[in-house]
Symmetry: C2
Subunit: 198 residues, 2 copies
């Protein structure tokens, strides 16, 4: 074999990570090989702690060190609004905007008949159950603006509307700092339709 | 804090890897968080084995599981030729070409006064020592065609020439499958100068 066995295995394992091809995996493996033992130990411990120390919030399925995540625990958050997102990374994205003070619900994916993801695979039942114990006035659907995100939004809206709750969806339009000239037609079209009074 | 502590640490550690920014590190960490315990264990073991099972060849400083690497151990290799490369990854690149059957010597870097890399930092003394025990007829310098690679090549050539050994350098020219029109001037210039008889 061209490459020493442990290096070969490391390249295989690293290239299973998203967005990491064989070439990048080789560069990472050779970098790790040249790193100090302490640095490698820090990396290994950090990865291990991810799995052992982090759980999912029992209420909203956001990542959390405790049973309930910091957002669900906080008394400063408006518990009458729930923002529904696809993944925990989307919670981070919304939090970074500093424009939202309500709670979250992480679905863990979106409906996708092609990939075999049905409503049962997502935390939809768990979302519906929250209405039994929580006083919820508004659900904000913040799923990605693609086909699967739209389908899931429509599915959820159909489920939620009969409960008499306000269901909204985050706005579509031109990204801040974006350029009208370079925006795609669908985005410009949406931005025109959803125009607001000034 | 916006992000749970273990996730924050994992993102910090992952973003220390070459070519991995904060955003990619976050994606990798969240992927690891969602992976099965077995997959994460396989990844951790592979990284750990890299550091514990792989050493550097005592003769050529290529990566190796044993004291001598497979290439140095092989009786099929021509031990009268040594190809000098910068890193172990370059050994892999040359081996993949299937055009070379001699031995290697991995310098572990190139001369770079700006980064403070002097000849003492590289395995140059070790290369010179090989002449005491090995019957070497040719040294092929296969360093990268950049300023630092060229400087190191010239430095090594000056050291090696007095020993009466043939010193060669891998050819510069148009890459196979490349396009004359899109090649930079320096490459086309070199390709013209180094033209060969047909």
């Amino acid at each position: 074999m061209l490459i020493a066995e442990p290096l070969h295995i490391a390249i295989e394992e690293l290239s299973k990570l998203p967005g990491i091809g064989k070439k990048t995996a080789q560069r990472l493996a050779l970098h790790i090989l040249k790193s100090s033992p302490e640095n490698v130990e820090n990396l290994i411990n950090a990865v291990q702690d991810l799995k052992t120390k982090i759980h999912f919030c029992k209420r909203c399925f956001n990542i959390s060190v405790e049973d309930l995540c910091r957002i669900c625990q906080s008394s400063k958050r408006d518990s009458s609004i729930i923002c529904v997102v696809e993944e925990a990374s989307d919670v981070i994205a919304v939090e970074k905007s500093h424009e939202y003070t309500g709670l979250y619900h992480v679905l863990g994916g979106v409906l996708s008949p092609l990939s075999g993801i049905s409503p049962d695979e997502l935390k939809i039942k768990e979302l519906m159950k929250r209405f039994e114990n929580e006083e919820i006035k508004e659900i904000i659907l913040a799923l990605n603006p693609d086909t699967e995100g739209e389908t899931t939004s429509l599915y959820l809206a159909k489920l939620l509307k009969p409960l008499g709750i306000k269901v909204t969806r985050i706005a579509r339009g031109l990204p801040v700092g974006g350029d009208l000239e370079f925006a795609d037609e669908a985005t410009v079209g949406r931005a025109m339709l959803n125009r607001i009074d000034l």
